[in-house]
């Protein structure tokens, strides 16, 4: 996982009022947070809403984040609390429980089966995810040893540039360049998959 310091530059900016810096952090952690919430909540349709709520609460609480724990650890706790709170509210609200029951009855008539896909996935999006994973794997294998080692030490071992430089016996600038080129090579292979659809706008 990333060293806690990796988020420090962006967090500093958020604390200075830069909401765009927060957006960058959201893009970084959204998938992990949604996976976490998906494990706590059986109704997959709730996941994006709870995730949204999590990030809003984190944004509001940024002044209280002091870097004593990793940012993701802090975010994780907010996600868990938000999920629990949401589930608790659903239980207590008789109106929602009733309609949920009604919805479930409708579902029995539709195509929802025991093998319901997680995370609101459709067969198409599940295929897309699989293709993304395969593309990343084959791109990694196609890298030169130096590039593959650099990005592996960074992304999987979580070493800093300085540590990687020491490990690979090269200057820090070379580490930075190798990691960048590795990412670019993989991103190039992902581009047709990720940009496939129209209206897919960042």
């Amino acid at each position: 996982m990333n060293a806690p310091d990796a988020d420090a530059p962006l967090i500093e900016r958020v604390k200075r009022g830069d909401v765009k810096a927060f957006e960058m952090l959201v893009v970084k952690y959204q998938r992990r947070i949604e996976r976490l919430i998906g494990r706590m909540v059986r109704d997959v349709d709730l996941v994006p809403d709870i995730a949204q709520e999590t990030f809003i609460r984190a944004y509001r609480a940024i002044p209280q984040f002091r870097g004593e724990s990793a940012f993701y650890t802090w975010l994780y706790r907010i996600a868990v609390n938000t999920a629990k709170k949401t589930l608790g509210e659903l239980k207590r609200d008789p109106l929602i429980t009733e309609s949920a029951r009604a919805i479930r009855d409708d579902d029995d008539e539709t195509s929802r089966t025991e093998n319901e896909l997680s995370d609101g996935e459709t067969p198409e999006s599940l295929l897309a995810s699989k293709q993304v994973a395969e593309a990343v794997n084959s791109a990694i294998e196609a890298l030169s040893d130096e590039l593959r080692q650099a990005i592996t030490l960074r992304e999987i071992e979580g070493l800093s540039y300085e540590e990687i430089a020491e490990s690979m016996n090269c200057p820090i600038g070379t580490v930075r360049s190798r990691i960048f080129r590795a990412r670019e090579a993989i991103a190039l292979r992902l581009r047709p998959l990720l940009d496939a659809r129209q209206g897919l706008r960042w």
Binding site: N2, P9, Q52, A128, F180, I186, L194
Partner: protein, 229 residues
Amino acid sequence: MPNGSEINASMAEQLSALADGELEDTGVSAVLGAWRTSESARSRWHSYQLIGDVLRSEDLASSAGKDASFLAALRTRLAGEPVVLAPEPLVPQPVEPMWPAAANGSAAGGRTAAAGRRWSWIAPSAVAAGFVAVAGMLMVTQAPTPGVDSGATLASSRPSTAGAVVAGVSALGASGSFVEPTALVANGQLIRDARLDRYLAAHKQFAGVSVLGTPSAFVRSAATDAPKN
């Protein structure tokens, strides 16, 4: 969001370095600028982050469309939020003599005028609760000997939570020390309290006397804010 043009290799490399927390401050500013104007920059950041996620765990693989929709929805909600501010402490300022005895013949005397303008305080009533946190106060003590600024002791209080205004007096140092708090900056703006300015102006004539003889109403005990080096 504006779409802008394709980013160049240099910007892409900066995005990559920032993803690792290994980009210097000016680079961070440049990246945030690109984020605002270039869809290519946003898409690239997403790709880099997705690659990292997938390397660690394949079940985090995702279609970009889903992720982009998530951010678009969040952006709408964020637009409705008040901007959060957690001001950062200033870099410690050099100690400056404040009384005439020190100013006479002292090379540092010329800097006294500057000291007054660095005074700053956030009055509790001026703070929107929850949105401004006093990040810390740097208190500088000066040895009674005029012109000597190497004896200064710097202490800083730790960042405090928002909601209540805190002025942490971390160290008052040796007896007869003059204490000069440095400025508090909220979003780049100094915030003044005229009462404190007058108090200090009145006391700076008394050489060797601690300005804050007794804790004022604005000052909270150091015991509640552990000083940190």
